[in-house]
Structure formats: C-alpha cells, structure tokens
Symmetry: C2
Subunit: 337 residues, 2 copies
C-alpha cells in the first residue's frame, strides 16, 4: 500500500516508530493528530511530510463546520500554524501548506473551498508518486550493473507517499535487471536505516547489508562501495540538508572518489536560501543517552542531538530530481531564474 | 581501584559489559576464565589485554601441580595458545605472553619459574600504570586551556590497568588546571564510548558530552572540536589499527584541520608489520542487528561487524607514547632500528 492514504475524511498511515518488528496503522481524523504523528516521527521523511501536512489541512477542511470561506480559512490558518511548528527543517512541509492554502483562497464558496483543499492534498500525494517514479528513472542511468551503493537513513517508500527518492533509484535499477547490492547505515539515534531501509529493501528482494554509522569509512576504504545515494530534507543554494551523519558520509565518499548523489523532488529545493539560513532541529538528548527504553550512558551525562547536518555542494556529484540529474552548478542556476 | 588486580592466586576485574548501570566484579582463578572474559569483552582495551593475558598465565603457573619446569612450560604453552586465540588484533596480548614465557624459560627450578611468571605479570601491570602516567604527561603538552577534545571508543583507565592512554592525556591536562571539555562518540556497536568513556570522565568531573558516531562530521564542521585523541590496538609501520570508526573520525578531523593524535604504550607498536599483515577481527552480526537483546533490523538482513579499522599514517598528527610525542616519520624510523 501507499505510506499515506485518504479515505472518507480519515488519513491512514503506518506507524514508522514500530517497524520493523510490528506493523501498526494509524487512522487520523484531525490535523492535531497528524501534527502529533509528525512530531513523534510516526510519520517522517521529507516528501511524506509534505503529503501529511496537506492531508492534515484536508482533515480540518473536511470536518469543518465553517459557515463562510473566511471562517474556513481561519481554521486552516490555525491548523497550518500547528503543522509549521512540528518540525522546522524539511521544506516540503511548508511548501505543501502553501499550495493548499492558496487553493482555499481561490474559492468564494465554503463548500468549493473544502473540496479544493481536499483535492489539492490528493493531488500532492498523487504527484509525489509520479515524481518519485521519474526520479527513479533518471537516477537509474547512473547505476551500473554490479554496483554496490551505500545509503544513509531512509529515503524509501516510507519517506514518501510511495516508491521513495534514493531508494526509487535503486528500485528502478533493480527492476531494470541490474544486479546491485545495497549497504545501509543503521542511522543512529533513531535507526531509520536498520529499521526502515533494511526492511523495505529486504521485502523487495534487493540484497542489503547493514552497517553501523561508524563503518562507512571502512567499507569505502575496502573498496566495497561504488556510489552513495541519499535523500534530502532541504536543498539550499550552497548545501544539502539531510539526516545527521550525511555530511560525514559525503566527506568519506569524497575522500574515496565514490560519487555522492542526492535524490529529491523539486519540492525539497529552497534555492533562495543558504545553509546559514536553515534551522537545524535539535531533538531530545534522551534519544542519544537511551536506546529505546534502555539507558546506555551514565545518568547526568549530556548529549547533542541535531536531527540534520549540512553537506556543502562541493561534496555533491549530482542532484537527482524529477527533471533529471542536475550538477550542483546547474542547480545553483535555478536560483537565478 | 585498578581495573585488574592479583591477590593470592585470583585475578579480580570489573565486568565491562555491565557498566555503567551495574558494577559487577569477576574473580577468576584459571586462565580459561580469563580467556573467556577476553572473548566476551568483559575485559577489553589493548593495554589491559596485555596485563590480563599475563595474569592468565600467572594463574596457570600459581595453581600448577607440575613437577618439573618442562611440565610447567607445557602447561603455560597450552594456556598461551588459548589466550592467543581469543582476539587477534590487539598486539599487547601477544607481547605480554612472550614476555612471561621468556621468564619461565629462564629458570631451571619449577618453583622459581612459577615465581618468575607471577612476578612478571605483576611487573607488566605495574609498568602499565607508570607508562600511562608518562603518556599523560607527554600528551598534556599538546592540550591547551579551553580545548574541546573528541575521543572515540574507550582508551581510559578501563582499557588499561589504570589511568588510560588517550584519557590519561585528558586527565593530566585537567589535573594541570586546563579547562577542557570532551566529546565522546558512543561507539557502536558495543557503545564503549557511551558506557565506559562517559562513565569515567563524568565520575572524574571532567565535562563530557555524548554524541552518536554519525555526529562527528557535524561537531567538526561547527568548530566544536579542536583536537582528536584516540587509543590504538596495534600501530604498524604505515597505519594505526583501532576500534571500528576511528578511520572515519581521522578523515573528518583531517578535512577540518583538527590534529588527530594516537596515545598508546610502546607495547602496542608492531613496527615490523604493515597494515596489510593485520588480521581484523570480524565479530558476530548479532551485535549490529540487535541492540542488547532487542532486534533492530528485520530478521534475515545480514550485517558487517569488523571490530577495528585501519587509519593510514597520513591522517596522524602524532603518536603519544611513554617516551614522548612521535611524528609518524619518527615512529617509522623505529622500524629501521
């Protein structure tokens, strides 16, 4: 199934904090529930956050008792505010809210506006799948038969509505008959690589081997890896913002001349901004000093927990989006247009 | 107390797999028990492995009923074989066995030989503490007031008989009144950084902050780190062999022009060998796909688990040993002498 689905005023998604040991579905009927699921990472992945935010607004519209379009828009603004405060880094969330709000404002009649909001949310989700297919197709041209590709975190179908971004590239290469292998980093602290990427690839029959984040240098030095592909939470003019650890992977790939690719839809692009303008979400220390419920560090020892880091464009070999593979220079030209 | 102690034919040590949540002591009276403790990492850390192996042989000698020196040496050879098969990478273990065996062979009388073996084991442990103090003193000259130093894994008192190697440097700097801070990587898969390094430093009142291994690039890029110091399991002519993840840290430090130092006693030096000659211990996949007892990856997904990696000398700013701080070139000259 799709990672997120709309049905008669309810949004259904899989709780990503429970995978891979349990498959638990969430049925949400209010935007507050969606915001909560985003905050707790039950729903995560930049493109999926876009679709989820849009569906959150659709829930507000669908269940609204507003008598006027003005009143509806006020309710939507309240919901949008709650959504914007969930997670600051992935730009897709803000992009989707803007798209949906614009549609609501285009209509005069309240019923028309409700319909437009729900339709726009559906459209964002539909487009995401289509866009991911195109990312997969463009990216697969970079992958050779026999390649071993390293990926960090989860940029798979679980990070999107379906098919994935980085993993779409690997899926397409595999479907094209290329005998690839994947090395997945476990991605501490929340183990999206071990729990989600390994799960998706293993389920699809694509050979995947798990490593700890500390083994990236080792596998590159041993010549085990030909290419690296990751997703992105935001691509600004001078850098890629993605899951903590991405920057380390990029530097190590660069040192070993393994091309480092970023796969992301254009909704992740934020070409007017620079790395210095991006707010990096700092999450609770408990994610680092505990492992699940088990305390691993002595009580009282503090930890850092930035959710993302910043990879300057000099480490990036190409950005794979729905329009093709862009060099960093070509990407930067978009900001001038 | 010391990490390992001899008392009337018994060896006492703390079970390092239970820290920091529980402090459990092991009392061992046979070399087989020592070998088991080494294999299961209840006892770990290159210099400590040297002392533990020596004490293992001392237990065999002390409890032996051998009627001749020849018979004693045969028993010691059997014990040495068991010890040599525990862990292949740390050279201190082999060095200590050689030292002790040589002493046994120097004596004619069996009682003299027993005494010589026990004394040599005690001497190895005593010397380790003294050597670590000197490493601390030499290394502290490199540390400036206000520095934040990153360390990986545990090269502390728990990795040695007392005081540590990399952490000896930090302890001495702190005792000298330098206001330093330490960033400790958690060191997956077995979390020696979170469990042991954070524990030791926190106990001593030295400010320590925990990060995941994936955050090393981030903290360097943000300018949070001035220097890196790690221990070593073996230093060969062209490289440093140390805990998995060390190589990634070294490359990232190099990229950010943060000097990368290695602190280790000369018993860790293996100057006649090259990196290509070193056997890297591959441990059970279960340490990676599980976290403690909890399965984190889907069943059936394989993992890599090399316990060590190899850092070429070009990334090393200096080797801190009991005789001073050696440049890689000075270290390499030792191999010619």
């Amino acid at each position: 199934m799709r990672t997120i689905e709309w049905k008669n005023g309810a949004v259904k998604t899989v709780d990503q904090t429970r995978l891979p040991t349990r498959t638990v579905y969430l049925e949400m009927t209010s935007c507050d529930e969606v915001a909560h699921a985003i905050k707790t990472l039950q729903v995560r992945g930049a493109p999926l956050l876009g679709a989820a935010a849009a569906y959150g607004l659709a829930l507000t519209a669908y269940h609204s008792k507003a008598k006027s379009r003005k009143q509806l828009v006020e309710e939507l603004e309240t919901s949008a505010k709650v959504l914007r405060e969930t997670r600051p880094t992935a730009v897709n969330l803000f992009w989707a809210i803007e798209r949906v709000m614009k549609k609501a404002l285009e209509k005069e009649d309240v019923a028309d506006a409700v319909r437009a909001v729900v339709e726009e949310a559906e459209k964002i989700a539909e487009e995401d799948v289509e866009v991911n297919r195109r990312i997969g197709k463009h990216g697969a041209t970079l992958i050779e038969d026999g390649d071993t590709v390293l990926t960090h975190c989860n940029a798979g179908s679980l990070a999107t509505v379906d098919y994935g971004t980085a993993l779409a590239v690997l899926r397409t290469a595999w479907e094209d008959g290329k005998k690839i292998k994947v090395i997945a980093t476990e991605t501490r602290p929340l183990l999206q690589g071990a729990r989600l990427t390994a799960y998706e690839l293993h389920r699809d029959g694509i050979p995947v081997t798990l490593i700890t984040d500390s083994m990236v240098g080792y596998v590159l030095a041993r010549g085990f890896v030909q290419k690296v592909i990751v997703g992105a939470d935001r691509i600004v003019r001078d850098a890629v913002v993605n899951k903590i650890g991405t920057y380390s992977v990029a530097v190590l790939a660069h040192e070993h001349k393994a091309p480092f690719y970023v796969a992301a839809p254009k909704s992740t692009f934020d070409v007017k901004r620079l790395a210095k303008d991006v707010v990096i979400e700092e999450r609770s220390m408990s994610e680092v000093v505990k492992f699940g419920d088990v305390q691993i560090a002595p009580a009282g020892v503090p930890a850092l927990n930035p959710a993302f880091d910043i990879t300057p464009m000099k480490y990036v070999a190409g950005i794979i989006c729905e329009e093709g593979v862009l060099s960093p220079a070509a990407f930067q030209k978009l900001s001038a247009s």
